[in-house]
């Protein structure tokens, strides 16, 4: 994993999979906090926008089953592949690690010759969402507005979590909540999704007890429970 020089801090989230109950409150708390467009009332089943999603992974045959959940959103990568993909320079990474999309710069690539959004397919996690109402792309900001207003604040998803499985903090600060939890769990038990991309995602996971890292890192992430709208262009 390469280390970026321009990021003195690297805020992120550590997910303790043993305590993720798969309830989806992280998605709904995010929608409230970031005022994501709800679907219209006359078509309540159309599916709204979300900046995060919960995946579930089920293995085995009844009654010998296992099931785990993974909250997934923008990973605020150390080297975000979406950043160079953007022809408008709308995506930027702050010194403290937040990867953000500049308001007013993104136009969802409507003026590009092929009219295809460039950042959306560049993200290996499918985390960038097209907001057709605003004509822009959006993604998890780690609730940067909350953190900027109060350094002790937490992103809305972390705050709401029922199972208390999410921790927020600076992975580069050895005394942060996420570093302490990493130490406690043992570094060897912490993994990232798609490590082969080598982009330094800042959403990390503590594997469930009794399951090998090897196994969880190769999880089939196809079973979506709730969150991210299905995007035909991804």
């Amino acid at each position: 994993m390469t280390k970026t020089a321009n990021s003195a801090k690297q805020y992120g989230i550590l997910v303790d999979m043993d305590y993720c109950l798969g309830c989806g409150i992280c998605v709904i708390a995010c929608k409230q906090e970031n005022n994501l467009p709800p679907f219209t009332d006359d078509e309540p089943t159309a599916g709204g926008h979300a900046w995060n999603q919960v995946l579930s992974i089920t293995n085995g045959k009844y009654p010998d089953l296992s099931r785990h959940y993974l909250p997934v959103h923008c990973m605020h990568c150390e080297e975000p592949p979406c950043l160079p993909a953007c022809p408008k320079d709308a995506i930027y990474k702050r010194e403290d690690g937040f990867v953000l999309i500049a308001k007013g710069k993104c136009n969802a690539c409507v003026d590009q010759p092929d009219g295809v959004m460039k950042c959306v397919p560049a993200c290996p996690y499918g985390a960038i969402q097209f907001n057709e109402q605003k004509g822009v792309v959006e993604a998890c900001t780690l609730c940067v507005h909350r953190i900027d207003a109060d350094p002790k604040a937490q992103p809305a998803c972390v705050r709401a979590c029922i199972g208390r499985c999410l921790s927020f903090g600076d992975f580069n600060d050895p005394n942060s909540a996420v570093s302490n939890k990493t130490k406690l769990a043992g570094k060897e038990n912490v993994f990232v999704l798609k490590p082969e991309k080598n982009i330094g995602p800042a959403i990390k996971y503590i594997k469930p007890k009794g399951v090998s890292v090897d196994k969880v890192a190769r999880l089939d992430l196809s079973e979506k429970m709730y969150g991210f709208k299905k995007q035909s262009h991804v």
Binding site: L21, C23, P38, A46, G47, G48, T58, S66, A160, C161
Partner: protein
Amino acid sequence: MPKTETGTKVLKTACYLCHGGCILLAHVKDGKLIKMEGDPDGPHNRGSICEKGNAAIQYIYGPHRLKYPMKRVGKRGENKWQRISWDEALDTIAEKLTYYRDKFGGESIVYGWGTGRVIDNIPFKEFFGTVIGTPNGIGIGHLCLTKTRMPAMTVTTGKMPPPPGFAINRDFEKANCIVGWGDTIIDSRNDFMGAGGTRIADALRRGCKLIAIDPVYTRLAQKSSIWLPIRPGTDIALALAWQHVIIFEGLYDREFVEKWTNAPFLVRMDTRNILRRSDVEKGGNPDHFVAWDTISRAPVIWNSTEVAYEKPNVKPAMSGTYDVKLADGKVIKCRTAWDVIKENLKEWTPEKASEVTWIPAEKIRESAIMYATTKPACIEWGVAMSQCARSTAINQAILQLECITGNFDVRGGNACWLFPKFRNVGLGSRPGIGLPRGQAEKRVTGGFPFSSEQELTIAPSAWQPGVWKQIVTGKPYPIKVYFACDSNPLVGHEKPDRYIIQALRDKLEFIVWADITMTPSTQYADILLPSCTPLERDWVSNSMEAGVFAGQKVIEPVYESKPDFFIYRELTHRMGRGDIWPWKTEEEWCDWQLEEMGITFRELTKTCFTPSPEDWKKYETGLFRKDKKPGFQTTSGKCELYSSVLEKYGIAPIPLFSYPLQSYEKNPELARDYPLILITGSREVNYPFFHSQYRQVPRLREMQPFPMVMIHSDTAAQNGIKDGDWVWVQSKFGKSRFKADVTPRIMPRVVSVTHSWWYPELPPPYGVFESSCNILVDPELGADPGTGTTELRGILCKVYKAEGPPPGVVDKEQGGA
């Protein structure tokens, strides 16, 4: 009041969007609610918040709110309304209620309530009992725990002095073993009574063992030490097998059983009835019992009034057969109740239970040992134990497990919380508040003793299926008026397409509905009253959880909605009984309820919660009994493992196994056409709702857009069903369609459907019978002889592919509309 720079006020309040328990922070700007967060100081949720609390804003300001009082101007169900003033609405209601009460008797008026988003349905009961004089209140009782767990408690560990602490409670915080018996806790108590999910996660962190009993591999099962995949409707067999292992392997709490239960009492071998003092002494009190004293080698009388043997230094025999001379001189053989219990349990080996429940015998044994030896342990059991025709036996069996393992009323076990000195309102709470003489006898009980007998009930209510039928038949007396308070019977009650729809559409002469939103059922009202949500009013509650909650009004009521407090106050005053409802404001009323606790409502809103005093093993200290003697408030004063009360009402005194009313064993022919087992109402596919509520809240609906049927992958393949297909689920009683959730996580022979579904996006009646689990079941199949609960789960069904979603329903994956 903390004020942020942007002019946003943050107000603390208790949530009541389910049964409450969480403390929330409401962010309010310019009088509008803009954000909801969990309060880190909330003792149960500790900063977390569930989806319902989070989406409260969309619920409160949504277009489905009832905005003004309205009267019906078209035919019932035509959705034609005219806005009227509150005065006109209340005058009309008071006049009609007076007319029907005086002409046809109070019993001709029925009132219904739901799960209590308006909380005040307790004074509602007070009003209808005292002012109207009707014994016919129908709630959700017989579908829910009030008619099953509480009766099990009443007969086993006794009625607690008012206000009752409930045996339904359990102490997750200190338990070292938690059993979720047909109860996912995480899904269904995410929030119910205080952030179940948060507590389960906490329990896991401290190494607490979890046992999940469910045909579905639920979230709790996923986190459990042991998962028992049980065949629906066979829980009694599992409970008896647990008792078998615990008793025969000597894992029970011997001291508790010998000292505190009626296990030593003698049972007659000739009649198989418990031996009563009246049997052995002419004119003896039939509620006194007899044991065999091993010291004097003679029978000894247990004086239930004194809660003591009538001789000092008695050592009662726990086992054995004894000759006892009756009052008429006849000598009969008697055995101890403990022996009789053991005799019943003898055949219930894990191997035998395995044949019935389909759980591997080894897992039954292992789980029984884990539950009995990991102290303290608590059991949380779900409504599956209530929604069947065997509810008395299964609830009794589970409560007995708590008792014989010494987990009853101990920290970390199943606890009976003592409430703070909270002043409840309700029938019998104050002088002059109660049914007029002779009215209780008119209650529609269906003949079920737990509906009809005062000594057995804590919260008496009428038997709901019987009431709906009586409205249609008019026999034995006519019922003409229905007043509903946040109730949705067309969606939530069983078999609504038979009597209920007829009653609402054709039979009832006057219908009033006080509710928060328009629903399929409110469509049939003659007068509609807009109620507030809990966030728009001040309230206190000691409901369920261990303590008192204060919900403070965080915004003014929207539109012309009013708190139900206002409705009752106005109606009592308009009907000339203002004396029973003297409080002018909600706050005044809350203060009165809190007065003996020495705290005002405003003071309580600083925390919004005050816990119950901690007190355990109250049978030792006398707090369980009115006379303050150590023991239990049962007939004998003992914990009755062998129920003298059930026996009195002709019900088996100990739990006996029986198969579900429709089962492979009982109905092999039916099973050929309906080869699958149906369960209804399991909260497994992300369940962001609360029974029939919140389908119209966009952020919640998108979590579960459609009613689902969970089908095992193999079963789906055999029936040509793919994930996401619309599927007909058909029982002998009806059919309904659901969207397939094809998964390996459900027992192959079982399908599970979402309950209480309706489509607020469709025109009235909102597709009410299109995806209704309730038209698949029928109360006339049979009911529990004690409680009157009906077979809502575990019946036989079949599934087959439907052509698409119900008419008008848009499913983008499937087309339709």
